[in-house]
């Protein structure tokens, strides 16, 4: 059967014109999203520059985007930023990887074994509240002054977020999926990989993204352990020199890498999830 042409004619027909409340998202054309984002960030930069110039604060305390991008350019030209970012990113990816695997396994175990949840589970909630710097002394003690100590701090900083995210995700999943799966003969580890985790995945994803952010934070704390070229060190150097432009340049770099990873890693996963589950597909 042929689809009547008017139904496919204009994608604009998918647009909903009414004034009624529309709390859930529409699928919009790709380019407008980017245009809007560019516009927003552009406006943000302009406001920042204006505040920096005409605001009540001296510009050495509140450098504007021009000065900061100058600092970024300098940092990149000198090779410091790139080398520092590479060092930090490697640690981040490694530490986060450990947290990811450990967090998923531990989170699943917490739900599976009530004993663990009652004991380790309640401890984790408290451990999560510890600032990353608290782990430094233990890290040095246990691992010595080396990469492993830094990775340890990163893991401690992000693991618990992921564990709790996974645990909550699984615990708040409708038991019907597990019932259906066991009914069809799924058991043991496969029950987890095939059903429990996919069913909980929409919720878990949030925990994974938060874990990523906290891996960053802890990495910055860990990199103050001792001087070696890294983003955390560049940040601290900026602070020590009261070089607001450098501090902001490193912050910009962190934000940039954070946003980039989000787009490369998490946004596609989210899109996949909503497509499959049908979240936010309603135009109403």
């Amino acid at each position: 059967m042929e689809i009547p042409t008017q139904t496919l004619a204009a994608p604009a027909a998918l647009h909903v014109p009414q004034a009624a409340a529309r709390p859930l998202r529409l699928t919009r054309p790709w380019h407008s999203v980017h245009a809007r984002r560019a516009l927003f960030f552009g406006a943000l930069l302009v406001v920042w520059e204006l505040v920096s110039r005409y605001g009540p604060w001296p510009d050495y305390l509140m450098p504007g985007p021009i000065e900061v991008s100058q600092a970024v350019a300098d940092g990149i030209r000198s090779g410091l930023f790139v080398r520092g970012a590479v060092v930090s990113l490697l640690r981040l990816v490694f530490g986060y990887g450990i947290s990811l695997v450990g967090g998923v396994v531990l989170g699943a175990l917490l739900v599976r074994f009530r004993v663990l949840s009652d004991t380790v589970g309640s401890l984790i909630v408290g451990l999560q509240a510890l600032p990353s710097v608290c782990w430094l002394p233990l890290a040095i003690l246990w691992f010595g002054l080396n990469e492993r100590a830094i990775i340890f701090v990163v893991v401690m900083g992000s693991l618990f977020s992921i564990v709790l995210g996974v645990r909550d995700g699984i615990a708040n999943t409708s038991p019907i999926f597990v019932k259906a799966a066991r009914n069809l003969g799924s058991t043991g580890v496969r029950l987890y990989t095939d059903v429990v985790l996919p069913a909980a995945f929409p919720t878990i994803l949030g925990g994974l993204r938060q874990g990523w952010a906290f891996a960053w934070r802890s990495l910055m704390a860990a990199e103050l352990l001792y001087f070696s070229l890294s983003l955390g060190n560049l940040l601290q150097t900026g602070r020590d020199l009261n070089d607001a432009a450098q501090v902001m340049a490193v912050m910009t770099l962190i934000i940039f890498i954070g946003v980039t990873f989000n787009f490369l890693l998490f946004t596609p996963l989210e899109r996949r999830v909503s497509e499959r589950w049908g979240f936010g597909t309603t135009s109403a």
């Binding site: 059967m1 009547p4 008017q6 139904t7 027909a13 998918l14 909903v16 004034a19 109403a284």
Partner: protein
């Protein structure tokens, strides 16, 4: 009590596009329902019945055409046109009573009145004793009944019912048929009622519409003039039903499942 409104569909069609899947659920359709009319919709599974109700409820946007209620274009949902979802769609964080009160709370009624109306409806759908139960503690049929109470409690002038009695045993269904018919007789609400039970359609409807398989088109429009109340077991009801069944069967046999285009 609210009385019915006129419903008009002009060339209303719906095509779902997601990724490279294009599914035409409803072919452009014209339909006129008079105020206070009780219209039943029959059609094969997946032919677009639920889609049609969602469009009329204003919860989905038609890909083509226009829907008007009392000559006002539909531009979103309204508590005056309540849809009873095929899968109940109760709120799991609310008790049965609070679910039933939900629509009432949007109005300006006093708490006492809300409570009274809710109790009344909970009784009518035979859920007394389950006012404080959570949704997950209900059986499938009990959920359908709770959803029915929630929808009817708000006293809309147009009722859009998507297989409301599908999960009920014959006796409970008979009782609820009676309730619905007497409510309708008293208020003359406009009702659009989707069902797979042809005799149920004949027993309840002023008109029975038959949709073709996907993409749905109206291929039969029967006016039922039998005297009310009608029982499912009445011979006249059975006769009309078998006539309509015939049309349905023809529509289904004629159709080939080719509405799915891989774009």
């Amino acid at each position: 009590m609210s009385t019915g409104r006129a419903l008009h569909l002009r060339g209303v069609g719906k095509t779902y596009v997601s990724g490279d899947r294009v599914v035409q659920a409803l072919a452009p359709t014209d339909l006129d329902v008079a105020p206070g009319e009780f219209v039943c919709l029959l059609g094969a599974s997946g032919c677009g019945k639920s889609t049609l109700l969602q469009l009329v409820a204003g919860l989905e946007e038609p890909t083509s055409g226009q829907i008007t209620v009392d000559d006002v274009p539909v531009a979103g949902p309204s508590p005056d046109r309540v849809l009873l979802f095929q899968d109940a769609a109760l709120f799991p964080w609310l008790s049965v009573e609070d679910n039933v009160r939900f629509g009432l709370r949007q109005s300006t009624r006093s708490r006492e009145e809300q409570h009274r109306i809710a109790q009344e409806w909970i009784e009518k759908v035979h859920l007394l004793g389950f006012e404080h139960a959570w949704v997950h503690q209900l059986s499938g049929g009990m959920r359908q009944r709770a959803a029915l109470a929630r929808a009817l409690a708000t006293d809309p002038s147009m009722l859009l019912m998507d297989e409301p009695f599908g999960a009920l045993d014959a006796l409970t269904r008979d009782r609820l048929h009676e309730e619905l018919e007497s409510l309708w007789a008293a208020t003359r609400k406009t009702v659009v009622f989707v069902t797979h039970n042809v005799r149920e359609a004949v027993a309840l409807g002023d008109r029975v519409l038959v949709l073709s398989p996907r993409p749905g088109r109206i291929v039969g429009d029967f006016r039922i003039t039998l005297p009310r109340p009608r029982a499912l077991e009445d011979v006249t009801v059975m006769q009309q039903a078998s006539e309509i069944m015939h049309v349905l069967r023809r529509a289904l046999d004629a159709a080939t499942d080719d509405a799915l285009l891989e774009a």
